[in-house]
């Protein structure tokens, strides 16, 4: 087995790494890049805990081979807070009590982020459908939905005040 070289933009930084191809992207991120916010819950693309933003889309990294990450742009939860300041979504998850055990939280926040990057003012239904690939066993989802709704409102206000865009 030959190692393959992977170049990617990871949380805003260009990185290059040589790995054996029989690693999955979840392993690449957790083991090689030590980005342990990426969680593994099911290993079959069902729970969404390993979600990252890959070329602008939410994807589950347990069903991707490392080689698929070559020439990609990946954002993990480590890349969301900027200069110690929480992303609006992170703040809303915190304030709304949308976090219990916290294991699904990174995937939840990133899925929401990818959703909002594509559609800055989703309807309640669009939020729910957009978040429907992440299982949570603790919260019953209500406070997670509420957190994302709040974030949408805050982004809107920021945008109206001429502030940053969501992406």
């Amino acid at each position: 087995m030959n190692k393959i070289s992977i170049s990617l933009n990871l949380n805003g930084e260009d990185r290059v790494i040589d790995v054996f191809p029989n690693r999955r992207v979840v392993d690449l991120l957790r083991e090689d890049f030590k980005l342990t916010s990426v969680k593994e819950g099911c290993s079959e693309g069902e729970c969404g805990a390993c979600t990252v933003i890959f070329n602008g889309d939410a994807v589950t990294t347990c069903c991707m081979l490392a080689g698929q990450a070559d020439q990609s742009t990946i954002i993990t939860l480590e890349g969301l807070a900027k200069n110690g300041e929480l992303d609006v979504l992170q703040q809303c998850f915190l304030d709304e009590g949308a976090v219990q055990c916290g294991y699904c939280t990174p995937g939840m926040i990133l899925t929401a982020k990818a959703l909002l990057m594509k559609n800055s003012s989703p309807t309640e239904e669009e939020i729910k459908v957009g978040m429907s690939g992440n299982l949570c066993r603790c919260t019953g989802y209500e406070k997670i939905h509420a957190a994302v709704k709040n974030a949408v409102e805050i982004y809107k206000q920021k945008l109206e005040q001429g502030g940053e865009s969501i992406g």
Partner: protein
């Protein structure tokens, strides 16, 4: 996961050459949503993995005269959000938007779904309802195969006609016209991340007088490949489409499912009963579309 060599061909020709070289010992990686899981669990153990996802030339949705041609590497997310498919091909739009999860729909491709040919493949049911055909390519040349024939073929995986050196490049079907209504319903235990219990499609075309000129009813997870409700289709053809006429087919659906499912390890009782409820929902959708269209 077992060791393997990984290739990322830049062109289809390069991909075909690799497949020709490695034959059965190679696995094609499209979205990866099925095969990576299988490999991780050790069920699939290729020596070589050929990642074709970067072949952007196979990622397109084109309206080509009266046909829609979809590149095999188009993702479910692309398909579900395509305006023409949303408007004119609801059966495919609805099937594509209920596959797996948003994350899986961002990765998974229609070609991968058809090539896997899972019993519960929603893309397979929808495409069968549309009487789609697939294009298979290899160093030996291209061939076009109707999906029904593709699924019954005995190729490298014994699940379909795909041979060891072939790559699926395109899926195409007739673009439903203004007089055609289509719909898909996924019966499952939960509303997201669900595996179909029944993944049912319908297509009905009528003439100006409302007489049925084309009917296609296909139910996934009811037989090895989407069950063809031939008797029901025959019942509709040449008749004026009304709720009563549509509902007259319910016992036929029931019986067809019973015949098909009785030898399988499924709850025959539930499948034969619920298929009627599933199609009643589809009839509602069809009638709404047809009536909406006639009112325009």
């Amino acid at each position: 996961m077992r060791a393997f060599d990984f290739f990322t061909p830049k062109t289809i020709n390069e991909a075909k050459a690799l497949l020709n070289q490695y034959q059965e010992s190679a696995s094609i990686l499209a979205g990866g949503t099925d095969i990576v899981i299988e490999m991780n669990e050790g069920h699939v153990r290729p020596d070589v993995v050929i990642d074709i996802k970067r072949l952007k030339e196979l990622e397109y949705i084109r309206i080509d005269g009266e046909q829609i041609r979809i590149g095999a590497l188009s993702t479910f997310a692309m398909i579900a959000s395509h305006p023409v498919i949303q408007e004119r091909v609801r059966v495919l739009c609805q099937a594509a938007s209920t596959v797996g999860s948003p994350q899986i729909r961002n990765l998974g491709t229609i070609g991968g779904n058809l090539a896997t040919s899972s019993v519960a493949g929603d893309g397979v049911s929808a495409m069968m309802t549309l009487n789609a055909s697939v294009v298979l390519d290899s160093v030996r040349g291209k061939r076009t195969v109707p999906l029904a024939e593709f699924l019954e073929g005995k190729g490298v995986s014994n699940r379909n006609a795909l041979l060891a050196d072939e790559i699926m490049t395109e899926i195409f079907f007739d673009l439903p016209d203004d007089h055609t209504a289509t719909a898909f319903y996924k019966l499952a235990k939960r509303k997201s991340l669900a595996i179909s219990v029944i993944g049912a499609g319908i297509l009905v075309q009528v003439d100006d007088a409302g007489i049925c000129t084309k009917a296609s009813l296909r139910g996934g997870c009811l037989s090895r490949y989407p069950l063809h409700f031939k008797e029901a289709e025959a019942h509709l053809l040449g008749e004026k489409i009304t709720r009563e006429l549509l509902e007259e087919t319910l016992p036929m659906l029931h019986d067809a499912v019973y015949e098909s499912a009785k030898s399988r390890p499924w709850s025959v009782f539930y499948k034969k009963e619920s298929v009627q409820g599933v199609y009643r929902k589809l009839f509602d959708a069809i009638l709404e579309q047809l009536n909406g269209k006639s009112n325009e």
